[in-house]
């Protein structure tokens, strides 16, 4: 199995807070991997290290075969990032925004046009392409955010709380995209606190809690091994076990 993402003993602190504490996992090509945990568990920090925006205190990672510390630019060229708080340039149209980023990824004009046509089919971009982003609904904006992230057809895509702040329809559009986007040869990391999304989308998932990975398995196995009917039930069983351990240590 060839791992597109390989994370080894990653740790990162902000002051005294250990945001990520010795986390390791790997994601193979063709896999959708879930990072499940409450807000502040360390999911975003982990993904920011993988996106070369933060430097780890210790440990390391390779993304699409490139080391995040030694070849950050090669890593950036191989990834797409979608998160919930991402904005757009209000005074540019959807097409102009996609062109701008396409040019930053050094794509040719025809390549950009071809990709926009493909993504239009997939995401139903329609008039988001010709209208200025300042007038977009959150759903329209999120479609352009997704199109922008995958414009250069990266082998690795990170979704970080990509549905937060979206209405039901827009949320559905994101989830449908992740499910339907051709995943052959691609690795997707889907980070969320919404359990149902993990159940629907992810092949495997790890549960992140207080900066640590407390469980990792296929979604079905996570449920089964914790004697739960839903991933939510499994999550709370795992978390309470950790919290009890935490009290004991104190």
């Amino acid at each position: 199995m060839s791992a597109l993402i390989d994370v080894r003993n990653l740790s990162k602190s902000f002051g005294k807070v250990k945001a990520v504490d010795d986390v390791s996992f790997s994601v193979a090509a063709g896999e959708v991997y879930g990072l499940l945990g409450p807000n502040g568990a360390g999911k975003t920090t982990t993904l920011r290290v993988l996106a070369t925006l933060l430097k780890p205190d210790s440990g390391g990672a390779t993304v699409a075969g490139h080391d995040v510390l030694k070849a950050p630019e090669a890593v950036r060229a191989s990834i797409g990032v979608v998160n919930g708080g991402m904005g757009l340039y209000d005074r540019l149209t959807g097409r102009e925004i996609l062109y701008y980023f396409g040019r930053l990824y050094d794509l040719e004009e025809q390549q950009i046009e071809r990709r926009i046509a493909e993504l239009d089919d997939l995401l139903d971009l329609r008039d988001t392409l010709t209208r200025r982003a300042g007038g977009f609904s959150t759903g329209m904006a999120q479609k352009i955010v997704i199109a922008r992230a995958v414009l250069h057809d990266p082998p690795v895509i990170f979704f970080d709380e990509a549905t937060s702040g979206l209405d039901v329809v827009a949320r559905r559009a994101v989830v449908d995209f992740v499910r339907d986007y051709p995943s052959k040869g691609r690795a997707v990391v889907y980070s969320t606190h919404v359990m149902s999304e993990v159940e629907e989308l992810c092949d495997r998932a790890s549960i992140i809690y207080r900066g640590r990975k407390i469980a990792e398995d296929s979604v079905d196995e996570l449920k089964r091994s914790n004697g739960s009917n839903s991933i939510e039930e499994a999550f709370f069983r795992l978390v309470s076990r950790v919290d009890m351990g935490h009290e004991e240590v104190r």
Binding site: R48, A51, T52, L53, L54, K55, E73, A74, R76, A77, I79, V81, N83, G85, M86, G87, L88, Y89, D90, R91, L92, E96, Y100, F101, R103, L104, Y105, D106, R132, V145, R148, A149
Partner: protein, 408 residues
């Protein structure tokens, strides 16, 4: 650094600013219109007021009208003054009946007879512009009348009036032709460049940096495989473009204002007109080399301002924070301009050519005066370049800092 990437970043910022109608109006149109309005408006308004004051018949109160000799009344009336009898000087001025009152308590003709002297009181409100202007008319009449009286007395004593002025003073201007035509206002152009680059570049600088943080577009830009130096330089160039455009607009506005001013006022002023034009720097005669030096210096000044803007607004976490840092900057640029007015008194050595902004003003002043020293030129350009690079380095460093990029 790849120039094509820098251009792609800059192009997007330029497009984005061009689409911002409010920014375009306030940055490009306002300087173009504001300059002529201020330049023409002030003299038109003030000139009109003063002219009206001079030609209008001004009522002046008099206490003891019968005490004024006919000759004095004639001199007063020649100053466009209408004499109005009042009872008390202080109350008449305080009540606002008139702005100025003349008080004479004894018949002046009697007092002055036989080389005697008399007293005239002038009641006015000091600090009130209108009252002081009217009082000056009275004072002028008093001076003329006094001269008449003195002349008569000298003739009576058998003396020529010229005995009172034994010395004649001649003032000769010993400055060179270049110095004379350089003009007191040659600092205005660099001043405009500094101030309008600051105003004009502000929108782009803040929008492209702190604005990206606030809108949540910075993270995805930093995830793209474009280098941070390219992003910084691209945004800096876009800022410089709009800053320079605003400065250029202000200069064009200034030239239009100057042309209108000379068309409207110079014919009225005659000989004095030419003098005023050269004082305003209108008679500048600079050769091609000087122009090249001036343009390069102006570009460096604008680049410095743009680099300051980018450095500051990248450091700021939000739009508001950036603007509160930038607001006091215009004062920083006014100080060197004020200082330049006193440069002859301070007596400046080479060190002065290392003071940022001030050194460019000094150099430009030297150029129009035709006294450029190559060593000082190198000092100014060199120190400016170093400073610009340092500021861009500061901006770049901020881009690397995790706590500056993610404001959590």
């Amino acid at each position: 650094m790849r120039p094509v990437m820098i251009w792609r970043v800059a192009r997007k910022e330029i497009l984005s600013t061009l689409r911002d109608t409010r920014a375009i109006v306030s940055n490009l149109l306002i300087p173009l219109v504001l300059m002529p309005v201020v330049m023409l408006g002030m003299p038109l308004l003030l000139g009109g007021l003063f002219e009206r004051e001079a030609t209008n018949i001004t009522p002046i109160g008099v206490v003891g009208m019968s005490n004024l000799p006919a000759e004095f009344v004639a001199v007063l009336e020649a100053q466009n003054v209408e004499l109005v009898p009042v009872d008390d000087g202080v109350t008449a001025v305080q009540n606002g009946d008139v702005d100025v009152v003349i008080g004479v308590t004894e018949p002046l003709a009697v007092a002055l007879a036989g080389n005697g002297s008399g007293t005239i009181s002038i009641y006015s409100k000091q600090g009130n512009m209108k009252s002081e202007l009217d009082a000056s008319k009275v004072q002028q009449a008093v001076a003329i009348f006094q001269q008449q009286v003195v002349a008569l007395r000298l003739v009576d004593a058998g003396l020529d009036p010229s005995v009172l002025q034994p010395l004649q003073v001649q003032n000769v201007d010993a400055s060179t032709a270049a110095e004379r035509s350089s003009g007191q206002f040659s600092w205005l152009i660099p001043f405009f460049i500094a101030i309008w680059t600051l105003t004009g570049g502000q929108m782009t600088a803040v929008d492209a940096t702190a604005g990206e943080k606030e809108r949540g577009t910075l993270e995805v830009l930093l995830v793209a495989p474009v280098r941070r130096t390219e992003v910084v330089v691209g945004k800096f160039l876009a800022t410089l473009t709009f800053g320079l455009s605003a400065a250029l607009m202000a200069i064009v506005g200034f030239l239009i204002g100057g042309a209108l001013l000379s068309a409207v006022f110079l014919p009225r002023l005659g000989d004095q007109g030419a003098e005023i034009v050269s004082m305003m720097g209108g008679g500048l005669n600079v050769n091609l080399l000087s122009i090249v030096v001036l343009v390069i210096s102006a570009l460096l000044l604008a680049a410095l301002v743009a680099a300051v803007l980018i450095g500051i607004s990248l450091f700021a976490r939000s739009f508001k924070e950036a603007q509160s840092y930038i607001a006091p900057l215009s004062f920083v640029f006014i100080i060197p301009v004020v200082l330049l007015q006193f440069k002859d008194l301070i007596g400046l050595g080479n060190e002065a050519y290392l003071i940022p902004v001030f050194n460019v003003l000094l150099l430009m002043d030297d150029v129009v005066r035709g006294v450029v020293d190559p060593g000082r030129l190198a000092l100014v350009w060199g120190s400016m370049l170093v400073l610009i690079l340092l500021l861009l380095g500061f901006a770049h460093r901020n881009f690397q800092r995790e706590e500056v990029i993610f404001r959590s």
